[in-house]
Amino acid sequence: MDNLLEISNLTVELMSTQGIVYALSGVDLSVRPGEIHGIVGESGCGKSMTAKSVMRLHNPRRTRMGGSIRFEGQELLSLSDRAMEKLRGTEISMIFQDPMTSLNPLMTIGAQIADMYRCHTGAGKGEAMDKAKEMLTKVGIEPAARRCRQYPFELSGGMQQRVMIAMAIACTPKLLIADEPTTALDVTIQAQILELLQKLSDDMGMSILLITHNFGVVAETCRRVSVMYAGKVVETGETSALLRGARHPYSRSLINSIPGGGERGTRLETIPGFPPAMFRPPEACLFAPRCPYADDRCRAAYPPSADCGNGHLAACFYPLREEAAV
């Protein structure tokens, strides 16, 4: 088992006032040690759902999970709550989309990082505070000794995200899940944060599962990428290969709708229609109603993953040939 994280056939069903929502229906995903793996997709396609499932953050009374999530060969879905608690923070950590609300407003940032460290190592107060300063320096917040005493509201969004990262990696986890870490930040700060994540990944040999809806972010940082649509992974592959020639029509249209790729003066391509409601997904390719290439076969059954070589998988009956995407 050379994969750090191995998700196979993960299903998540949510109870809602309007009935059962089939949020994830068979997600397959694997993250290798030390790599940055991207997940891309539209809003509501299950990216964050997948991340939360790995952390087991769902309300157990309103969700039903199936399939398997293996971390270093250990099944996470059947783990006891206590064991899961031990794993969080030390083996797997997570950072969130909105750094402004993900820090405790009443504790200084130094105290929060120190608290995190003490919680898992049982270190003394002084030692933990030193560690907090070390971590702040590591994520590029200077001068750490003074910053330590500041409250979250005294920092900018980018700084807060750095603090969040410092907390998440204080106990050197093997996997960091970053759920749209740069969505709430502007573009320059976004670049800084991504650079930081990349550097940390290289220095610590830590894997990162980077969730985003921005192909630009993926192109810059990720070695491999999975494209999600309607609760399923439709295509997985090396970032460069996938960007050059996506096999699944959905990924292809997604890439084509990035501004800047086409000729000057032409209209930007969009994908017609909306993602399907997830109340009772049909046994068919979910992209078929929006797909220009779909035929009866696509509307009758869900296509299996076709291996296009070099670990590149696409769930389509008619994978597009590799050619210049533009």
Partner: protein, 310 residues
């Protein structure tokens, strides 16, 4: 205990950094009033000119004079001394009531709000049962069952006050629980106990504190009602509420008998409220009162100009 609850709340900030200020003028005054009240009541035995229970039947219902600062009551007892001793009873019992309800109510509310599900349902239905009785009536029943004295009245009221505090804490917990930082705490692997007591509680505590200071005021009044009905403080022991009720019969002859205890109660309650409000603002670091631009410029920039000129 204090630091455990407040954690890293910036109580020490005013020393380290010049921004936050607890003692704005209003808070300073109310705090001074509270200190004076507590001090005088605590040292009642030293400060009081008379024994609070010594009767002087030739000198009943006397008006204020040099001998009797506030006059005397229907049994010729010195009202000033009785106010001091009565404060002792009233304040300690009110604090007792609040302490009991807090020790039981706050953890229950936190657990109920955070855990949800069956624990929540169970705790909330118990609260409903308690709340379905009029609070004073319930206290009567408890005191009648336990035996009438001050301690039992405090215990009974403490239990009666639990559901309100539990509900408040629960609702605050429900709000905090759904904030992202709690998910962040979970995903960083904090234990439930740590999340509840080190992260959620400090974020709720300022509102709870305000409620508690209000509860102290209610407790003073409710204890007075119990005393009036002969279920709380037993005569001849002095107690503000009991004195207020006793004075009612002589309202037309010497209104001070009721007015003075009533006034003291009002002052205590108002001071408590202003102080709790100040504390509430101070404990929320984002609301820290910074000096206005004008004041700042007057105070600091002038000084700098002088320095550079010199």
């Amino acid at each position: 205990m204090f630091s455990a609850i407040f954690g890293h709340a910036p109580l020490y900030r005013s020393r380290k950094r010049k921004t936050g200020r607890l003692f704005t003028p209003a808070v300073a005054v109310s705090f001074a009033v509270l200190l004076i009240l507590i001090f005088t009541c605590f040292f009642a035995s030293v400060l009081a000119p008379y024994n609070p229970n010594a009767q002087d039947l030739y000198n009943r219902l006397a008006t204020p004079s040099a001998r009797h600062l506030f006059g005397t009551d229907q049994n010729g007892r010195d009202l000033f001394s009785r106010i001091l001793y009565g404060g002792r009873t009233a304040l300690t019992s009110a604090l007792g009531v609040v302490a009991i309800s807090m020790i039981i109510g706050v953890p229950l509310g936190l657990i109920s709000g955070y855990k949800g599900g069956r624990a929540d349902t169970f705790i909330m239905r118990c609260c409903d049962v308690l709340l379905s009785f009029p609070s004073l009536l319930l206290a009567f029943v408890l005191v009648a069952g336990l035996g009438r004295n001050t301690f039992n009245a405090v215990l009974a009221l403490g239990i009666v006050y639990v559901p309100m505090l539990t509900r408040l804490t629960r609702s605050l917990t429900l709000v905090e629980k759904n904030k992202v930082y709690v998910s962040a705490c979970i995903s960083l692997g904090y234990s439930e106990r740590r999340i509840i007591f080190r992260h959620i509680l400090p974020n709720c505590i300022s509102t709870i504190l305000v409620q508690i200071t209000l509860d102290i005021a209610y407790a003073i009044l409710d204890l007075a009602s119990l005393s009036f009905l002969g279920l709380g403080t037993q005569p001849p022991q002095a107690d503000w509420g009991a004195m207020l009720d006793e004075g009612r019969a002589f309202l037309l002859i010497n209104p001070l008998l009721s007015l003075i205890p009533g006034f003291v109660i009002v002052v205590t309650v108002v001071a408590l409220n202003i102080f709790s409000d100040g504390l509430h603002q101070y404990l929320d670091p984002a609301q820290t009162a910074l000096p206005g631009f004008r004041k700042y410029e007057r105070k600091y920039l002038k000084k700098k100009e002088v320095e550079t000129d010199g």
